[in-house]
């Protein structure tokens, strides 16, 4: 019954009795000793067979055997902590602190300190499995892939390639994510998505639409320079614990302000200098409440705005409406509190704004992010040390997987889906554009964004005439993605049951395997973790870290690369897809995939990071400064740790990477930059290019557009191109070489010449306070779909219904209906969700790890004491939490705490394996059930999607809670 450590005594629970041999309650001394390690001589490591099916045994090091030390990267969040593994005879026997890593300096959180358990793998899926009349049957890889590919090809033939949904993973390496996107392209659909959709898709859209790139502008380490740190909609103490090392050190050294703005008094808030509680879903009123004081007192950075920001006057008009009185009426925060924040951000600089899912997972996600950016722009807090939008991303490689284009709206590295983008990648892949086109239903579908992961089940259940593709979805292939991660789970389950084919490739069965009543045509493929393969991963700060394979894949699992190779082979396009990637015994070589990325990813500056350079950084971690991340001495001298993108040009050009984006205080050759010119050069007679601001050493002392061969000619710099570079440009450009830009020039010549002259290849523009083209160019407040304040809907309604991602978005209708029906009367509590430090994402992997599972054994709901009292609920008691749609209900434990405000309930999102009061443990393949199971919060979460990215609204909906008799 341990839901918080304050329940000091671990009572004997149904879980313990189920656990059997793991439980202390039934351990005798012999069993204790057996489990404490291994008894000498009994199962010594030397005696382990070296076959392909094996299991790690123990942790004591055998002095007779050589110890191999391998450096990898933690697979649990985007901080990117290095992991040092000591390996004997292909068994990971000991984990040591990686003190040399400038990112984590030896530290870990509960998850990182327990990753060795992942390759012990007691609860891992051991063999491919197939569901036959509701029973799991063990099958071989060959049989599995034969059957899966035959069924996929049948669906392709009968219903078209668009009827298959490819769901990838933010836990892929960059190489894996890139391959997965490439595989979808060769299959012939853009419906290939991953977790970024449901974590930071709105951040990427909001930030990229403001200043060019959708990523954290600074770094975890750089936060040490900040004098004011605002964390709004994030709980890094649980979600990114090692980041707190930098945050708290910075706070101590600079005596900095640490302001936490959140509906919940989080563990991060416990360390804050200021905590401001807001009503969930009122981020924009809060930001505008701060900006109102900034503008009212003329505290804004006028020089910065005039030189580097477009459209701030449009924001002023909107902000003027948000007087302290109106702000308090909407979000409940007194004006003085926000005035204090406004003062800090403008007088105690540099200031940084840190956010996570609290900002993004809303119907106004993109608008929230835009508002955050506008606050940073108005106060001049972007593009310098200690400032910036420090967006803490979620999974270990969600930044890299996003960059690699595992996205329904783009090819790899943000090229989009336009014809030019396809032609660029056709050149990189060395396949005819016509071949790629032949894989799709039509050229139109080829250039149409796919189905997002938030809506895939709507695309299964949709009548054919209401979906903008040939047929609804009929099959889903999931690699490395939990099944409890999207809202409206009761609807999702119906979608699962309607699928003709479901393939889950994962180290664990995942919720997808058990939550529905599927009986057949369901396959589980055991895929190993990143510790059992090699590749590069991009941390939140854009640093790319190479991780080496610690041990070979355990049990019968295979790595992502091999699974994708074998599948594409069966589907008939492996020879095309792997044309320039070396494959040894059906194993694509990771380094070769990285090199292909280097050859194509000019738009994002993923071109300079060759595998050799990345490995050199891992080997020289001790040379990097922990604040500046700059290398001192050796082969990495002057380079930034992990060559954070953009790392311009070819690897031979030795660009050092870009620690801080848009930093005009540095020369572009040293990692300096400007805001990206991405949205044209002029609008309504006003320039979109920077005025009088440029990066250090720029030969153009003003704004300039993105650079093409034509621009180089006008500047008279085309003569600096070598003959070889010019030949490549001419070949790409054909009749019109002038149009060849910095992002499609495969020679890298344009980028090289730009840097030679101190200019940034992507141009030098203003950031957009007014992001014309978005549904709300200037963010406006819109109440959540299911709001606790229906009285505000008339003034602040959500957007009217519209179509996006091939389907209708009826948020407007749903909100109106909820208000008209008075849903809030029956569901008066605001429900929000979030993280626990012990678990990650859907939680299947971490709930299977006994070292973690022991610390959080029960799903729970946090209830304010007043709300609990009104309902007669006692601490620790089981309760029914019911949701506002689908008659949804969950049976969970009540945790009564002041952490949540009155009228707000909080549930963690890592649990699954119970569904609407029913234990599903028996439905897992034997031995692969996670130790801890529980109800999923997303059973209760409801309709609502961001207009730009299809992000779901998990962070604010309505619920009711009642005591349960049981």
């Amino acid at each position: 019954m341990l839901i918080k450590r304050r329940d000091a005594v671990v009572q004997k629970t149904r879980l313990q009795s189920m656990l059997g041999d793991l439980s202390s309650g039934v351990l005798d001394r012999r069993a204790f000793l057996r489990r404490a390690g291994f008894t000498a001589g009994a199962i010594g490591l030397a005696g382990l067979p070296l076959g392909s099916v094996k299991k790690a045994q123990a942790a004591a090091i055998d002095p007779k055997l050589a110890v191999k030390t391998v450096k990898s990267v933690c697979t649990h969040c985007s901080v990117g902590c290095s992991v040092i593994a000591e390996v004997q005879n292909d068994v990971w026997v000991r984990q040591e602190p990686a003190f040399d890593s400038p990112i984590n300096r030896g530290s870990h959180c509960a998850k990182g300190a327990s990753v060795r358990e992942l390759v012990k793998g007691g609860r891992r899926l051991r063999t491919p499995m197939k569901l036959v009349d509701g029973e799991w049957q063990k099958i071989t890889w060959d049989v599995a892939l034969d059957e899966i590919s035959a069924k996929l090809l049948k669906i392709r033939q009968d219903q078209g390639p668009e009827s298959v949904f490819w769901l990838g993973s933010a836990k892929f390496s960059n190489e894996g994510a890139y391959l997965f996107r490439k595989m979808a392209a060769f299959w012939g659909t853009n419906s290939a998505d991953h977790q970024a959709r449901i974590c930071h898709s709105t951040t990427v859209a909001g930030v990229a639409n403001t200043w060019g790139y959708g990523a954290m502008t600074n770094s975890y380490n750089d936060i040490r320079n900040a004098k004011t740190m605002i964390i709004m909609g994030g709980n890094p103490a649980e979600a990114h614990p090692v980041s707190l090392q930098h945050i708290l050190t910075g706070k101590e050294l600079n005596r900095a302000n640490l302001v936490v703005i959140d509906p919940r008094f989080t563990r991060t808030a416990a360390h804050a200098t200021d905590y401001i509680r807001i009503r969930p879903g009122t981020d924009i009123p809060t930001i505008y409440g701060i900006l109102w004081h900034v503008f009212e007192n003329k505290w804004e950075d006028t020089t910065f705005i005039s030189q580097r920001v477009y459209g701030m006057d449009d924001v002023r008009k909107e902000v003027a409406k948000w007087t302290p009185e109106e702000v308090e009426r909407v979000n409940g925060v007194p004006g003085e509190q926000l005035k204090r924040v406004a003062y800090m951000m403008t007088h105690e600089k540099p200031a940084t704004l840190i956010w996570c899912m609290g900002a993004t997972q809303k119907t106004v996600g993109t608008a929230n992010v835009r508002a955050y950016c506008i606050l940073l722009l108005a106060t001049g807090n972007v593009g310098a040390p200690g400032t910036g939008a420090n967006i803490f991303r979620g999974h270990c490689n969600v930044q890299g997987a996003t960059d690699a284009g595992l996205d329904v709206t783009s090819l790899p590295f943000y090229y989009g889906l336009v014809e030019g983008a396809w032609k660029h990648w056709a050149r990189v892949w060395d396949v005819p554009y016509e071949y790629l086109q032949s894989r799709f239903d039509s050229k139109k579908m080829m250039e149409t964004p796919g189905i997002p992961t938030t809506r895939w089940f709507d695309a299964v259940l949709s009548p054919p005439d209401q979906i903008d593709q040939r047929n609804p979805l009929r099959a889903m292939v999931v690699m490395g993605h939990g099944g409890n991660t999207v809202t409206r789970m009761p609807e999702m389950v119906k979608g699962l049951e309607a699928l003709e084919l479901l393939v889950v490739a994962d180290p664990h069965p995942t919720t997808f395997a058990v939550v529905s009543e599927r009986k057949n045509n369901t396959y589980l493929l055991p895929v190993c973790t990143q510790f059992e393969t090699s590749g590069s991963r991009t941390a939140s700060n854009r640093s790319i870290q190479w991780s080496d394979r610690v041990v070979p894949p355990i049990w019968e699992s295979k790595d992502d690369y091999e699974v994708m190779y074998r599948l594409s082979e069966k589907l008939g396009f492996a020879d095309q897809m792997f044309k320039h990637i070396k494959v040894v015994d059906k194993n694509p070589i990771a380094e070769d995939i990285t090199r292909e990325i280097n050859r194509g990813a000019w738009s994002t500056g993923y071109t300079g990071q060759s595998p050799e350079r990345l490995k050199a950084h891992m080997a020289n971690q001790d040379k990097f400064d922990i604040v500046t991340l700059r290398g001192k001495g050796g082969e990495v001298d002057g380079e930034t740790y992990g060559l954070p993108w953009p790392c311009w040009g070819t690897p031979e050009q030795k660009h050092p990477g870009t620690h801080i984006l848009y930093n005009t205080n540095l020369h572009v050759k040293d990692g300096g930059g400007t805001f990206r010119a991405r949205f044209g050069v002029e609008r309504d007679g006003k320039t979109l290019l920077a005025e009088g601001s440029y990066s250090l050493g720029s030969e153009i002392k003003d704004g300039y557009p993105e650079v093409t061969y034509g621009v180089l000619k006008k500047l008279g710099w085309d003569g600096d191109l070598t003959a070889d570079e010019l030949a490549v440009i001419t070949k790409i450009g054909g009749e019109k070489p002038e149009t060849v830009s910095w992002s499609i020039d495969l020679s890298g010549g344009i980028q090289r010449v730009c840097i030679l002259h101190g200019i940034v290849p992507y141009g030098n523009a203003k950031a957009r306070a007014n992001a014309f083209g978005l549904p709300d160019p200037v963010p406006v407040h819109r109440e959540p779909i299911y709001t606790s304040r229906p009285d505000l809907v008339a003034k602040y309604p959500t957007l009217p219904d519209f179509r996006s991602f091939r389907m209708a978005n009826i948020g407007g209708t749903v909100q109106k209906r909820a208000v008209d029906l008075g849903v809030v009367k029956n569901f008066p509590l605001v429900l929000t969700s979030g993280r626990l430090v012990e678990y990650e994402g859907g939680g299947e992997e971490t709930r299977s790890n006994p070292w973690l599972a022991e610390l959080q054994q029960d799903m729970f709901v946090e209830i304010n004491p007043a709300d609990a009292d009104a309902r007669g609920i006692k601490h620790g008691q089981m309760v029914w939490v019911t949701g506002a749609e689908s008659n949804s209900k969950t049976w969970v434990k009540a945790h009564i705490t002041d952490r949540v405000g009155r009228g707000v309930a909080f549930m963690p999102f890592h649990f699954a394996g119970w569904f609407q009061g029913v234990d599903q443990r028996a439905k897992y393949p034997k031995g692969a059930d996670p130790i801890v199971l529980g109800e999923s919060v997303n059973t209760l979460t409801t309709y609502g999607y961001d207009p730009v990215t299809g992000m779901q609204e998990t962070k604010v909906t309505l619920c009711q809670i009642a005591a349960s008799i049981a």
Partner: protein, 199 residues
């Protein structure tokens, strides 16, 4: 000889439980046995503070004072260890310990608890040679014999939990207090000096 200590800087502790799982990882301690745990006071309220707790390896250890079979001993590094061969599982040490450090593999009274287990400061125990499989099986790892500190402190996410020579960690902590400009970040300060935490 240095005196080894733990110190938990409560201003830095974020209750991430890295110390707990690092201990499990280093020592392969079974489910239900927690050599280290994180205790939180004022959970969910302003003033919430957490502190990581384990055997404090006392100078004059109460557990040793009450042990009827005298199974405790103190190493040259001033680490308090015990012999599981001698331990009778009586539980007196549990009553005596102010920190709740002793753990028992079984629940029950009157000698049915099983042999006591507790934090060894990653120093192994009296069975077998240092770092041997036999020692590991009974007591867990022996990092100290390799010149390494306990894994819990080495892996602490925020460098809150410090381990090492008492003189050195006191110096580290003094420097932190100086930089912060206020005292009392360390657990136990209020009890000792009757001052409130004023962050």
């Amino acid at each position: 000889m240095a005196r080894m200590k733990f110190l938990c800087d409560a201003d830095r502790c974020i209750e991430c439980n890295a110390c707990v799982t690092a201990c499990k990882n280093a020592n392969e301690v079974p489910w239900g046995i927690n050599r280290r745990r994180v205790v939180t006071i004022n959970d969910g309220k302003p003033g919430e503070r957490s502190v990581s707790m384990a055997c404090m390896h006392c100078n004059d250890a109460p557990c040793a004072a009450v042990c009827p079979v005298d199974c405790f001993y103190t190493t040259a590094d001033h680490v308090v260890l015990h012999s599981k061969d001698l331990c009778i599982g009586c539980g007196y040490c549990f009553y005596a310990c102010p920190f709740g450090a002793p753990q028992y593999p079984k629940v029950g009274n009157f000698g049915s608890r099983g042999k006591m287990d507790k934090c060894t400061y990653c120093s192994g125990g009296p069975t077998g040679a240092d770092g041997s499989a036999a020692e590991f099986a009974v007591y867990g790892s022996n990092r100290m014999a390799e010149g390494k500190l306990p894994l819990c402190a080495e892996m602490c996410s925020t460098k809150s939990l410090l381990a090492g020579d008492g003189e050195i960690i006191a110096q580290i902590y003094r420097e932190r207090v100086l930089k912060r400009g206020y005292n009392s970040g360390s657990w136990g300060w209020q009890t000792a000096y009757q001052e409130t935490i004023n962050v």
